[in-house]
C-alpha cells in the first residue's frame, strides 16, 4: 500500500517504496540495454522504443498504485510494464516473438499487456490509450470500486484530439484517472516548442477544470509524491488529475534513430540528472543498491535464457485459431 498523504502536506515514500522504485528503474534500464543488444543481433525485430532516461516516471507513478489499480501504457512502454510488476521472462519472450510471451508473440514490444497486474496494455497508436483509460475510469465508476487508473502518454500525444476530448470527459464525470503526461520534449523528432504554442502542458488541466501539476520527471520521489496525492484525490471521489512530468530521452525515438536532432549540450544536462543516479543517491547506501542490482541482473539473465529457449508460435496452431475471426 502506498503511504497515504500526510495531512496538509505531501506523502513521503517509505523505504521499501524507495527501494522498489530503484529496482524498477534499474531493471528497466538494464532491460532496455539488453533489448538494444538483442535487436542489433537480429533477435528482436520491428520497432523498439527504449524508455532510457524516463524510468523515474513509470517507477514513481506505479509505486503510488495498488495491484488492483490499472495502468494504460504507450509504444514506449517497457518501463510502465516493469514498474507495474511484469514478469521479465514473459516480457522478454514477447519482445522476442515467442509463444511463451505475454501475448503469445501476437503483440511484440508495442502491444504488451499484463492482465495479472491490471496493465491494460501498450499501444501502437499515439494517444489512443487516453480515451481507453478514461473509459476504464468510467467502468470503475459503474462497478463502484475504489480503483484508479494511471494513463501514461507523451507530449506528442497531448496534441492529439483525444487528449482534449478525454480530459474534458473525465472532468465532467469526475473519473478516477491520473493523466500522466511524460514530456520528453520530442514527438519523434519534433521538439515540443514546434508542436504547440504553449509549452506549459500542465496548464491544460485547469482548462478542463482538472488540477494540472508539473513535476520533475527524473525525480522518482517527486513523481511518486504527486501521483500518490492524485491517487488519494481520485479514491476519495475528487476526480482526475493531469500530471506533467518533465523528462528527456537519452537517445532517439527508436533503436534505429540516432537522435541527431537533439542538442548534445541539453542532452548532457539531462544525463547529469539521470534518474538512475538520482534514485541511487536517494537510497544513499551502496550495499543496498548493489544487492538490488545483483538480483535484477540475475533475473534478467534468466529472462533472456527463458526467451531464447522458448519455442516460436506454431503456424498451424495460429492458422487454426484465426478461422472465422
Amino acid at each position: 500500500m502506498p503511504t497515504p498523504p500526510a495531512a496538509g502536506g505531501s506523502p513521503r515514500p517509505t523505504e521499501p517504496i524507495l527501494l522498489g522504485m530503484y529496482r524498477n528503474i534499474y531493471a528497466t534500464r538494464q532491460f532496455e540495454l539488453k533489448c538494444i543488444e538483442l535487436y542489433r543481433q537480429g533477435l528482436i525485430r520491428g520497432y523498439l522504443h527504449p524508455y532510457i532516461g524516463q524510468e523515474a516516471v513509470a517507477a514513481g507513478a506505479c509505486a503510488a498504485l495498488n495491484a488492483a489499480d490499472y495502468i494504460v501504457s504507450t509504444h514506449r512502454g517497457h518501463g510502465h510494464c516493469i514498474s507495474k510488476g511484469a514478469d521479465l521472462k514473459l516480457m522478454m519472450a514477447e519482445i522476442m516473438g515467442k509463444a511463451t510471451g505475454y501475448c503469445h508473440g501476437h503483440g511484440g514490444s508495442m502491444h504488451i499487456s499484463d492482465k495479472r497486474v491490471n496493465n491494460l496494455g501498450a499501444n501502437g497508436i499515439v494517444g489512443a490509450g487516453i480515451p481507453i483509460a478514461t473509459g476504464a475510469g468510467m467502468g470503475i465508476r459503474v462497478r463502484g470500486t475504489d480503483q484508479v487508473v494511471v494513463v501514461f502518454f507523451s507530449d506528442g500525444a497531448s496534441n492529439n484530439g483525444v487528449f482534449a476530448e478525454s480530459l474534458n470527459l473525465a472532468g465532467i464525470y469526475g473519473l478516477p484517472v491520473i493523466y500522466l503526461l511524460e514530456n520528453n520534449h520530442y514527438a519523434v523528432s519534433t521538439p515540443i516548442e514546434c508542436a504547440t504554442g504553449c509549452c506549459d502542458l500542465a496548464g491544460r488541466g485547469p482548462a478542463y477544470g482538472i488540477p494540472g501539476i508539473c513535476v520533475d520527471g527524473n525525480d522518482a520521489l517527486a513523481v511518486y509524491r504527486e501521483t500518490a496525492a492524485a491517487v488519494a484525490r481520485a479514491r476519495q471521489g475528487q476526480g482526475p488529475t493531469l500530471i506533467e512530468a518533465k523528462t528527456y530521452r537519452h537517445g532517439g525515438h527508436h533503436v534505429n534513430d540516432p537522435g541527431l536532432y537533439m542538442d548534445p549540450a541539453v542532452l548532457a544536462e539531462w544525463k547529469a540528472r539521470d534518474p538512475l543516479l538520482l534514485t541511487r543517491r536517494a537510497i544513499g547506501d551502496d550495499a543496498r543498491s548493489a544487492e538490488i542490482e545483483a538480483q535484477v541482473d540475475a533475473d534478467l539473465e534468466s529472462a533472456i535464457a527463458f526467451a531464447t529457449n522458448s519455442p516460436e508460435p506454431s503456424v498451424d496452431a495460429f492458422l487454426a485459431s484465426i478461422e472465422d475471426r
Binding site: D114, L120, A128, G135, M138, R143, V162, E165
Partner: protein, 323 residues
Amino acid sequence: MIEMMYREALRRAIDEEMQRDPLVFLMGETIAERGGSYKVTEGLWQKYGLQRVIDTPIAEASFTGMAVGAALVGCRPVIEILFIDFAMLAMDQIVNQAAKYDFISGGQGTVPMVIRTQGGAGNGLAAQHSQSLEALFYHIPGLKVVMPSTPHDAYGLLKAAIRDEHPVVFIEHKLLYMTKGPVPEEEIVIPLGRADIKRSGTDVTLVTYSHMTLKCLEAATLLESEGISVEVVDLRTLSPLDKDTILSSARKTGRVIIVHEAVKRGGIGGDLAAMLMEEAYDDLDGPVLRIAGRNTPIPYNLNIEKACIPSVEDIVEGVLRVV
C-alpha cells in the same frame, strides 16, 4: 406476439439487458433526458439513473475509446453513435483498438461493447448523414456487424450483441425506426451469424439485409403475380456471415442477386458474389448480379437522392433479367 415499432423493440432489448446485468450501461449524445435523436433510449435514464445512461459531449473518438476501456475493466458498454457517418471520427478506436485487443493481447482480454449506430438514405439528410458504410466494418477482422430489418430481429439481435464477448457494430436504418412488426411476448435472443429466410421461393434468391429486405419482399410479392417464385435471404448479421444459408439457397434456386443500399463499388455484394463463385459455381445457372447504390455521395434533393439507391422496380427488373 405484440406489435412493436423497431425503435421500441431496440429499447426493450436494452431495457431487459440493463435489468439483467448491472454492468451494462449506455453512453452517447443526447441519449438521456432527450432519449436519443431517434428516441431509442427514451425513458431509460429514469429507470436506471444518469450513472448508467450517460450523455456525452460531441466527442465520438473518445467516448468510443471509453467504451473500449470500460469493457476491458469488466463492463458491457452500449454506445450510440448518432449517425454512422460520425463513426468515421472514431475509426482508430473501433478498428485499431476494439477490434484488435483480444488478438494483440494474446487473449488476455476481450472487448464486449456494442456500437449502436444508424445509416441509410431517404430523408433528405444529404451526403454526411445518409451513408451506408457497413463494408468498412465488415472488412475488419475482430468486428461483428449486425444489420436487422425487422423489430423482431432488432430485439433479439441487440440482446445477443450486448451479451457477446466481442465488439459489435450494430447498424440500424433511419427509415426502419417507425416500422412495426410482431415481437414475441417472451424473451428471445437471436444468435449472431444466422441469416433468416424471410420468404421462401424456388426461382431466384435475393440476398439482402437491413432496409433493403423490405424492398426485396415487396418486389417478391409483385413477381409472384407474374409466376416467379423469389426467395429472400435476410443476412441479419454480415459478420459472422451465414454462408451456409446463402449457399444452400443458391443451390436451390441457381440464381442469386445481392441487393444492398450501400454503393456497389467495394460493397458487401462484391464479396458475396466472389464467395458464391468460389463455393457454388457449379450450382449456379447464371452470373450473380448486384443491385446496389450508385457510386456517389448521397445528394440532398429527394428526387435525385431516390435515384441513388435501389428501388423496388430496380429489384423487379433485376430478377426479370436473370430468370
